[in-house]
C-alpha cells in the first residue's frame, strides 16, 4: 500500500503532542499495510526534530526548506505537489486553524476526500475514520475509495505512541513553494498567555456566565495557575466580552479532552458539552443545583464560584 503521511506544523517551537499522536496513528496504519510513514516538516529548525519524529514512528522525514512558518495556502501547495509525485494513501494534519485552510485546499487540489476533526483511525482492508458530527451527538465511521485521503486529527484523541529511541529515519530535503499569496497578513494579535495550550492541556479551568464579568476570570485564572492548567470559557462569557474568543470551549470554539476539566459557573449547554465531553474527569461548581452541567460532572459542588474556586485554589496550593 502507499505511504502514510503526517504534516507536522509548528516545528519552529517544541513539537506539539498531536504530532506524536498522528505519527502513532500513521504507524499503526503503515504496519497493517506494509507501508512507510513519512513526516513532512516545515521551518528552519525542522532538522532538529527528525530524531523525535523517528522515535514516534516516522520512516522518512521530509524537511521543507522554509525560513519561517509557512502560510496554510503554501502548506497545501507543497503537500499537493509532493503528493502528486508519490500518491500517499493518507495525509494527516493536526486539526486547527491552519489545517482548516490547508486541508480543504489540499483535498481539492488532489480531488481527494477530506475527513475533518477525526477522533479515531482504524486500519483494516480500508482505513476507517471516526468523527463526531451533530454537536458530538453522533459517532460516525466512514471510509473513502480514493487513491489519497486527507484527514485532520483532533489533538488528544489518538493514543500517544511509545517512544522508540532506537528508530532512525531517512532525512530528505524538499524545496518550498513560492508564497505568492493573494491574502496578505497585516497583523496577528496573539493572546499573550504563559499558560499551556488549551487544546492539549491536561487540566482546564473554565468560567461561564457565573463569572459575572472580566474580574470573575481573575478567580478562574488564579486556580488555573495553581494547577498549571489552561483557562477556558463558555460562549456566554465570550459573547459578553469578558474573555477572548480563543478561550471558548464548545461547538463554536475549541474541543478539549483534559484529564481534569473544572467548570465554574457554567450551565452546561449541549454546545458546551460538545467541546469538553471527552474530558476524563469533570468537576462542576455552580450555585444552581438544577444546572445541567451537574448531570455530566463526576463531582459537583453546589456553591458560589467566588467562594468555592478560591478555596479549591488554596487546597491545591497546600497539597504542593
Amino acid at each position: 500500500m502507499a505511504d502514510m503521511w503526517v504534516g507536522v506544523n509548528g516545528a519552529d517551537e517544541a513539537l506539539r503532542q498531536v504530532n506524536a499522536e498522528m505519527l502513532g496513528g500513521a504507524r499503526a496504519l503503515a504496519d497493517q499495510a506494509a507501508a512507510q510513514v513519512v513526516a513532512i516538516v516545515w521551518g528552519a529548525s525542522a532538522a532538529g526534530h527528525a530524531k523525535a519524529l523517528a522515535s514516534w514512528g516516522a520512516d522518512r522525514v521530509v524537511i521543507v526548506e522554509s525560513e519561517a512558518a509557512p502560510a496554510p495556502e503554501a502548506v497545501a501547495r507543497t503537500l499537493a505537489r509532493l503528493a502528486a509525485e508519490s500518491a500517499p494513501a493518507v495525509v494527516l494534519l493536526a486539526d486547527g486553524a491552519e489545517s482548516r485552510v490547508a486541508a480543504p485546499l489540499l483535498a481539492e487540489a488532489l480531488d481527494a476526500p477530506l475527513f475533518s476533526d477525526v477522533v479515531d483511525i482504524e486500519a483494516g482492508d480500508e482505513v476507517f475514520f471516526t468523527r463526531l458530527p451533530y454537536t458530538a451527538k453522533v459517532i460516525e465511521r466512514a471510509t473513502a475509495a480514493a487513491p489519497t485521503v486527507v484527514a485532520t486529527v483532533r489533538p488528544k484523541a489518538l493514543p500517544v505512541p511509545e517512544v522508540d529511541a532506537s528508530r532512525t529515519a531517512e532525512v530528505i530535503a524538499a524545496p518550498a513553494d513560492a508564497a505568492d499569496l493573494a491574502r496578505i497578513v497585516q497583523s496577528v494579535a496573539r493572546a499573550a498567555s504563559e499558560r499551556v495550550d488549551l487544546a492539549e492541556a491536561d487540566i482546564v479551568v473554565a468560567g461561564g456566565r457565573g463569572c459575572k464579568g472580566p474580574e470573575g476570570f481573575a478567580v478562574i485564572e488564579s486556580l488555573a495557575d495553581a494547577l498549571g492548567a489552561a483557562v477556558g470559557a463558555s460562549r456566554p462569557a465570550v459573547d459578553e466580552g469578558w474573555i477572548d474568543i480563543q478561550y471558548q470551549v464548545g461547538q463554536t470554539g475549541k474541543t478539549v479532552a483534559p484529564s481534569l476539566y473544572i467548570a465554574c459557573g457554567i450551565s452546561g449547554s449541549i454546545q458546551h458539552m460538545a467541546g469538553m465531553g471527552a474530558s476524563k474527569c469533570v468537576v462542576a461548581i455552580n450555585k444552581d443545583p438544577e444546572a445541567e452541567i451537574f448531570a455530566g460532572a463526576d463531582y459537583g459542588i453546589v456553591a458560589d464560584l467566588f467562594e468555592a474556586v478560591p478555596l479549591l485554589g488554596a487546597a491545591v496550593r497546600e497539597r504542593k
Binding site: A97, R100, V101, V138, A145, R190, Q246, S259, L312
Partner: protein, 255 residues
C-alpha cells in the same frame, strides 16, 4: 457589492438526535433551522449591503424543504435566493456540495462569496475552502471580522492562539465564525414579505458538477451517550471543596 451567501438548512443544534433503520439521522419531525454559521455570514452580508449598497443573494443546495432556511435569510434582508434543487442533497459529500455551489456561484458575478466555516450538523468544515480552490479565489477562514476598503477586504480570522488580520483582493471567499455578526431577529413584517419572495429554483441536473461521483461511504452511525455523572459532593463550600480535592487525588487520581 454583490455578495453571494451559501446557506445550509440544518437540524437545530439543541435537538435530540435519533437514527432511522438505515442509520441515517432522522429529520422527520425535527425543527430545521438556518445553520448558525451560515446565519453569521448572512447577517454580515446584509450589514455590508446596508453600509455600501449592492445585493445579497442566498445560495442553497437542498430540497424544497430547505426553503424555510432560505426564507429566514430573505427576512433578515437578503435580496434574492437561488435553490439548487436536489432531492438527494443529504447524500452528497462535501466535495460534491462544494462543486455544485462553486459552479452556481461562478455564474452569479459575486464580489464576495460567504458562508459558514463549518455547519452545525455534519461539520465537514471544508465546503467554503473547496469553493475557494475551485473558483481560484483567496480565502479568509473562521472570520470574526470583515470590512470593505476600496477594492479589497480586511478580514479578522481566528487562529489557534489569537486573531490574524489580513487584506484580500476581491473577489474573495469569506467563511464565517461566531463573532462575525450578531444575527438579527426578523420582524413579522420582514417575515411576511420574505414569504412572498420565492427562490429561483434550478434543478441539480442542470449542473455539470451533478455527475461528480462520491468517494465517501459512511460505514456506521451510533448515538453517543452523554457524559455520566451527577454526583454532588455534599456540604457547605469549604467541606465540599476539601472532599472534592480528596476524591480527585484518591479516587479519580487526576491530582
Amino acid at each position: 457589492m454583490n455578495i453571494v451567501v451559501c446557506v445550509k438548512q440544518v437540524v437545530d443544534t439543541e435537538a435530540v438526535i435519533a437514527l432511522d433503520g438505515a442509520g441515517e439521522v432522522e429529520l422527520m419531525g425535527q425543527t430545521m433551522v438556518i445553520d448558525p454559521y451560515s446565519e453569521f455570514a448572512v447577517e454580515r452580508a446584509v450589514q455590508l449591503k446596508e453600509e455600501l449598497g449592492g445585493t445579497v443573494t442566498l445560495l442553497t443546495l437542498g430540497s424544497q424543504d430547505c426553503l424555510a432556511a432560505v426564507r429566514h435569510g430573505l427576512a433578515m434582508g437578503a435580496d434574492a435566493a437561488v435553490l439548487i434543487e436536489d432531492e438527494q442533497w443529504t447524500a452528497r459529500d462535501a466535495a460534491q456540495a462544494a462543486a455544485l455551489l462553486a459552479e452556481a456561484a461562478s455564474t452569479m458575478g459575486a464580489d464576495l462569496v460567504m458562508g459558514g466555516w463549518k455547519s452545525g450538523d455534519t461539520a465537514a468544515a471544508q465546503v467554503m475552502g473547496r469553493m475557494a480552490a475551485i473558483m481560484r479565489l483567496p480565502l479568509a477562514n473562521m472570520a470574526t471580522g470583515l470590512s470593505v476598503e476600496g477594492g479589497t477586504i480586511v478580514a479578522e480570522c481566528e487562529v489557534d492562539d489569537g486573531v490574524e488580520t489580513a487584506r484580500l483582493p476581491l473577489p474573495a471567499v469569506v467563511a464565517a465564525q461566531q463573532g462575525l455578526a450578531e444575527p438579527r431577529y426578523p420582524s413579522v413584517r420582514d417575515v411576511m414579505r420574505a414569504r412572498r419572495r420565492g427562490a429561483e429554483v434550478r434543478p441539480v441536473a442542470d449542473f455539470a458538477a451533478a455527475s461528480k461521483p462520491t468517494t465517501v461511504t459512511v460505514v456506521s452511525r451510533e448515538l453517543k451517550s452523554g457524559r455520566c455523572g451527577g454526583r454532588i459532593v455534599a456540604g457547605e463550600a469549604p467541606v465540599a471543596v476539601a472532599e472534592t480535592v480528596r476524591l480527585l487525588a484518591e479516587e479519580a487520581k487526576v491530582l
